[in-house]
Amino acid sequence: MERSKEKGMAVTMNPESTNLLEVKHLTTEFETEQGTVKAVRDVSFTVKKGEILGIVGESGSGKSQAMYSVMGLLARNGVVKEGSMLFDGHDISPLSFEGGLKAYDKYMQGVRGNTLSMIFQDPMSFLNPVLNIETQLVEPMLNHMKISRKEAREKAIELLRQVGIPSPETRLRQYPHEFSGGMRQRIIIAIALACNPKLIIADEPTTALDVTIQAKILQLIKDMQRKSGSSVMLITHDLGVVANMCSRIVIMYGGKIVEVGTADEIFFQPHHPYTSGLLACVNNPEEEDKELQPIPGSPPDLLKPPAGCPFVDRCSCAMRICKDYMPEMTELSPTHRCACWLEQKKEVLA
């Protein structure tokens, strides 16, 4: 009941709002031979104009699949089951799109790579090995801008220079295997930036890179964001990466959002035991003698997601209620929300 009301509200939202992307109750499932994988379960978040939002979670927490759902890039066996998505004042949910799936596909083709683009995880496998850089870089421009091949080429050279690739004129004619990993990631960033997108989704952009290059790539993304004023969603499994980049942070676990807050709130007042657990794994140079604490166990099997809190099996504060009932989001401050029964504990025990 409540959900459909919200959906209706979302469509009629004020276009002047500061929210660039609004995702509500997103649920995504994959059909596999073993059964249905519930990769994303009832996830809601917003991205404001001009901000960098961090989404943090272990691999398999559903963060990437949530982003693929927004982009409309799910694999063949993946389906958005529920939820509304509003990007730049326009509905982009395949479920409620006006005109049906065909119209949705057509609309998303115009959006992808244009106002909404994505930086991918592995620079080694996301560039086509048999096409040269030029072909791959001018492709989004030729798709979305009314420019000639020559103009696109010039723009491509300019882009490569911006992302820090030396002698772009000659590099343009080379193939991916002639570049190092860091260089390839710069090219992928250039592709994402080609049409001045309003929102860039960066899916673990530094995971596959050497530590020394990671910082440079992050700095590059930050600089680009500042210059263009676009919004960025930075997806990572490393809280350390988002620390100096993001204004707000979303923590995901087992296909669900467990905590949302500003960077300060997440780092200094973590409420969810999983967030605390993640923080215990971050290497902080200021606390040299701190022992790193791994979280025991492994993430839940999303083929059979637990009825209650997904973190129950690994949680050091687990209670009986956690096993059978899913905790609701509790608002701790206007910006800080957390889904954990510990928030209700005091109330009930009091």
Partner: protein, 312 residues
């Protein structure tokens, strides 16, 4: 690239030289006179003249040197069977026929094979993909000569809608081409199906879609080139297959080509023609292999030609 090509050509020449040498000594190792049993009935003087004419009176090393010199000049001598006809004339007459049929079969098998493979890889209907795979397995299991025979019986003898002899008109090409192409079509469609279904799973296809490229163009621009790489490398073996396939297809359909000539020369023990044809086939296949490697280097930038790992 040029350096690599030259290297490959050199290796090709060495291969041809080895082939020429081996065939020469093999022919010499065959017991009995090359002129058959009836030679004993001829007068001694005629025999001597005959031997002198084919340099058979000289020692084997001498014969070998003469033979090599002639081969380099493109002179393969006279046919033993058809007296007075140069082997090169026979080849020059038969080669265009085989080449024409081979070219038609080549294009036909590539076109049909690639189409079937792509359809099988991309179709949403499981039965289409299964049907193509069954066809491909049957295609590699039914020998071309039996398939040709079945075609002849059904369309030539029973229905009488297709001519079964020679290569006069376009209709004559249908049965030999289809018979020759069954096996390569199966191979190509298997290759394309597996490489295409591999290609659509690749991450770079997701990146291409994330650029807002339409699904059809994602396949054409990003999938096709990748999935054609294994097909290109198959081109060399395909030429070899079409050559050996022509042996039986040409005999069956009475086509006056190289394959038919080769089979008759073997049954009639026409040694000069056998040697010349062996070298000719070898040269054709070597050239086809070199072209294949150069082509796959053009289409796949990751191949480093200088290493020269592939076959001659």
């Amino acid at each position: 690239m040029i350096k690599y090509t030259l290297k490959r050509l050199l290796l090709g020449f060495i291969t041809l030289f080895v082939l020429a040498t081996v065939t020469f000594f093999l022919m010499k190792a065959i017991p009995g006179s090359p002129f058959g049993a009836e030679i004993s009935q001829l007068p001694a003087a005629t025999v001597e003249k005959l031997y002198a004419k084919y340099n058979l009176d000289k020692s084997i090393p001498e014969q070998y040197v003469i033979y090599l010199k002639n081969v380099i000049r493109g002179d393969f001598g006279e046919s033993l069977l058809r007296k007075g006809t140069d082997v090169t004339t026979i080849i020059a007459k038969a080669a265009p026929v085989t080449m024409k049929l081979g070219a038609v079969a080549f294009v036909f098998s590539m076109l049909v094979g690639i189409t079937l493979g792509i359809v099988a890889a991309l179709t949403k209907h499981r039965w289409i993909s299964n049907a193509v795979m069954v066809l491909a397995t049957v295609g590699v299991s039914v020998p071309s000569f039996l398939f040709a025979l079945m075609l002849m019986i059904v369309f030539g003898v029973q229905l009488q809608i297709l001519p079964i002899i020679g290569l006069k008109g376009p209709l004559n090409y249908i049965m030999p081409t289809v018979a020759l192409s069954l096996y390569p079509i199966s191979m190509v469609s298997r290759l394309v199906r597996s490489s295409m279904s591999e290609a659509v799973k690749q991450d770079y296809m997701v990146l291409a879609r994330s650029k807002g490229t339409a699904p059809f163009w994602v396949i054409v621009k990003h999938g096709l080139k990748n999935c054609l790489i294994p097909v290109v490398t198959y081109a060399g073996p395909l030429v070899a297959y079409l050559m050996t396939g022509s042996f039986v297809i040409e005999s069956l359909f009475s086509i006056p080509g190289l394959g038919g000539e080769f089979v008759t020369s073997v049954t009639n023990r026409d040694y000069t023609l056998i040697m010349a044809l062996t070298i000719f086939f070898g040269a054709l296949i070597i050239i086809a292999n070199i072209l294949t490697d150069l082509l796959s280097a053009l289409i796949d930038p990751r191949i480093k030609l200088e290493k020269g790992k592939t076959a001659a």
